[in-house]
Amino acid sequence: MRITCPLCGSRDRREFHYYGGAVYAERPAADAPPEAWDGYLHLRDNPAGETRDLWYHELGCSAWIEVTRNTVTHAVLSARLLAGPERQGRSARSILTKKKPNSGGKGR
């Protein structure tokens, strides 16, 4: 799978870190009701077909981008640079979380 970064062009999927559904870019206000935070953090439409999700160009230009993809065919349809007013001054790296090595040590 290759993703077209709006700044760098077509790049290997390995350069990008997947963050989840594009709903992650729509952070509720700090005083929003708990239901809004539950929806933002946990609940997903999880569509079979076209979806929008958030990726971080970790091994490239460090841009956060919103990718429109098809979850059934893995076709990448488009990607746009995500402007960050909702980040409220937090750097992109500070919200990046990485997968640890096999901490559970279990066969799946």
Binding site: D12, G20, G21, D45, T71, G105, K106
Partner: protein, 416 residues
């Protein structure tokens, strides 16, 4: 037809002409006491235990494809009870006990093989974590043994003990862990449910869930409407689409997990072995193929196939751990669609609709859970009360914060 050694001998003497289809192929009735959406491992075991434990036999399992055609036939067949957290421990411990009696209970050979599971560790910190996990397993009443390096060498002499980057310090041996024949588990439960009167209806896709005044009244299907006061949604990777028919959004994102199998070889790997410093776990099937897998591809997917970076990672990890497998040729790779929850644990719970129940979120660990999931889901559907072993598998735990994060990595969709 009851299977037995005598039956096999008799059939062998008379040309194997007496075997009959293993289950009926009934047309759907207009009404059932309970309907289960999804004819995979969990749906079939739920149907079986509804009949066996609760006497509910006017039950239909609706499957849009063929029985056992989803994840129950696409996994790496590992059966274990090595969980750590209260809530998971009792559940998987119960599941392993059901596995141990499953063949006699179902009168079906599921080829359950308790060949032992060895999780390797590669640092002092990892040894401490595994010792703690082993103690938790023993406290639960299951088995665990901490092996040092020489202990591992005795069982797994073929590992690369000389390499410097990921030295093998030891392993946690779970003797009752092992594998089972995945298709046979689906077939065994299907046959046993059918023998108790459950209708197994294939090629029957649910297209709508009927709800009146907050109560479920039945389902719409490609083979007509079916009325039922209780409906269970047990559809794994497709949970999001089915729950949407009831107006629900779930804490589930579907991801692809890849697995691989080589050409058949003579017996070389006697256990289930997992690498502690990369995602790789392996066993050898009875047919001789090495069956192994890795981690998720880590993006939402319904494609049932993955991408090459994870293939590369799994092969690298395998070669790092046991270079002897380098000459084996990979015959197939495939992907299963995992219903991933934010904390990596499942859901067996009621919904906001009366009579509508949900069993999903099995992540990458659903196969070993097939017996206990059916046991607890049947209890929930029959009594409207959560089974004690599944009491923490709640749908609302993400909103309330009562999480079940076995890996300890956090509650977020891209972490498990």
């Amino acid at each position: 037809m009851h299977y037995s050694g005598l039956k096999v001998i008799t059939e062998g003497l008379f040309g194997n002409k007496g075997w009959k289809p293993v289950w009926r192929n009934p047309a759907p009735k207009a009404q059932y006491d309970a309907v289960i959406i999804g004819g995979g491992g969990h749906g079939l075991s739920t149907a079986y235990y509804l009949a066996r434990n609760h006497g509910l036999t006017n039950v239909a399992v609706l499957e849009k494809g063929y029985l056992g055609g989803g994840n129950v036939g696409r996994n790496t067949t590992i059966v274990r009870a090595n969980y750590f957290l209260p809530g998971n421990q009792e559940f998987y411990s119960h599941s392993l006990k059901l596995w141990e009696g499953l063949e006699a209970d179902l009168n079906y050979n599921v080829m359950h093989s308790q060949r032992g599971l060895i999780n390797l560790f590669h640092s002092d910190a990892q040894r401490d974590a595994f010792a703690r996990r082993g103690n938790a397993m023993i406290s639960q009443g299951d088995d665990a043994e901490l092996l040092d390096r020489e202990g591992v060498r005795r069982y797994l002499p073929y590992l690369d003990f000389e390499q410097a980057r990921f030295p093998i310090h030891g392993g946690l041996l779970h003797r009752r862990g092992g594998t089972a024949r995945h298709d046979a588990v689906a077939w065994g439960y299907a046959r046993a449910a059918d023998r108790r009167g459950v209708d197994l209806i294939q090629n029957c896709e649910v297209t709508g869930i009927d709800i009146e005044n907050g109560k479920v009244t039945g389902v719409q299907t490609t083979r007509g409407a079916i009325r039922a006061a209780k409906v269970g949604m047990i559809v794994a990777g497709r949970s999001g689409q089915v729950a949407a028919m009831a107006g629900m959004r779930l804490p589930v994102e579907s991801h692809v997990l890849q697995a691989f199998v080589t050409e058949g070889l003579k017996p070389v790997i006697d256990h289930v072995v997992s690498f502690g410093m990369g995602h790789f776990y392996i066993s050898q099937s009875d047919k001789g193929g090495l069956v192994f897998g890795g981690d998720l591809d880590f993006y939402a997917s319904y494609a049932q196939r993955g991408n090459l970076p994870m293939v590369e990672h799994v092969m690298e990890a395998g070669m790092t751990l046991m270079p002897m497998i380098g000459k084996a040729r990979v015959l197939r790779s495939w992907g299963g669609i995992m219903d991933m929850t934010p904390d990596g644990s499942p859901i067996i719970d009621r919904t906001h609709v009366e009579g509508l129940y949900l069993d999903c979120g099995w992540n990458y660990g659903g196969f070993k859970a097939v017996p206990a999931s059916g046991w607890c889901m049947a209890h929930l559907m029959a009594t409207d009360q959560s089974h004690d072993f599944a009491r923490r598998f709640r749908l609302d735990r993400f909103a309330t914060g009562d999480l079940l994060d076995e890996e300890g990595t956090g509650s977020q969709h891209n972490l498990h």
